[in-house]
Symmetry: C2
Subunit: 157 residues, 2 copies
DNA sequence: CGCATATAAATCGCACGCGATTTAATCGCA
DNA sequence: TGCGATTAAATCGCGTGCGATTTATATGCG
């Protein structure tokens, strides 16, 4: 640890300071690192990370709408529609117009979609090991990030 | 807080549990939230978030190579080359082959690049406010994320 | 009913990220 | 010196993310 600890000056008064002191960059680059860790694990199943979390989200409840899925994933139809079409083409889910409201598309996992998720059951444990951190620490980190995300969403409005 | 606190079972034995309990997802979605917060601030300068952190990284030292920049940003030439060409086309930086080693491309901000960064000086403070968290908390979170990123990189190898 | 408004999803264009490969230049070692 | 191995950057294809717009349907209010 030759690097000085970040302080208020680094974060506020010194915007051109080391990149490492930008929280946004730590979030960004940790996201890249997670993606790189997941990639080989999910390649075995033919899934991307987004496809993986989409299947998990759908496994929690049948007949979710695109809008509901988007609220769970923090994404909108411009991202989800192409993704869902690819997953439908792979026979992992079905997309059906709601008969009561033809604007709505309802999503459901296929048997094959559930089968892929079953094969993916070992993934979280493998990822957990790779974090190399204590579970309590991960839980605390998770909670802090959720709080931060909430603030950022409020601030972006 | 109606939601039960996540525990070890949720994280390990219950991989199909609520998305919110996946740390990777919190990192992912917080990254999306940061991007959405930055977008209107950086649109004023005609920059994307990646372009913004690239200029900051280059402002720290002149004549960095693409490889060195990649190590700072955790990215490789397949991502950086098109990005750098766009920034060069916007006259924000220059790309020159190293005369001593023609394989290497050296990068330097132009006067206009430094000018854009100068205009961006207020951005970190605006973002900091939007986080709605105490500076000490942000620093702790930053440190934890950097540690996590380090573990993930080691685990992905 | 009739028509403006609102809503859900889809479409389009562009900028990332990245695996895989290619091109060009340098290195290493007999 | 020569030549295979290594390295730096570029290229290519594909899957996200997202702002902006479009299409189709439903709602609300006179």
């Amino acid at each position: 640890m030759t690097q000085a600890a970040p302080n208020l000056d680094d974060l506020i008064a010194n915007p051109d300071g080391p990149l490492a002191q930008f929280l946004c960059f730590s979030v960004y680059s940790t996201g890249l690192a997670f993606n790189r860790l997941y990639k080989p694990l999910l390649d075995r199943l033919g899934l991307t990370y987004l496809q993986y979390i989409t299947l998990i989200a759908l496994s929690r409840r049948d007949d979710q709408t695109v809008k509901e899925l988007g609220e769970a994933l923090f994404l909108e139809s411009n991202t989800l529609t192409p993704l869902l079409k690819r997953l439908e083409a792979s026979d992992l889910l079905t997309r059906r117009r709601d008969t009561a409201d033809e604007r709505v598309v309802r999503l459901a996992l296929t048997a094959q979609g559930r089968e892929v998720l079953r094969k993916a059951r070992c993934v979280p444990e493998e990822v957990l090991e790779a974090t190399g951190m204590a579970v309590e620490e991960l839980i605390a980190l998770n909670d802090q990030l959720k709080a931060l995300r909430g603030h950022l969403q409020a601030g972006a409005r």
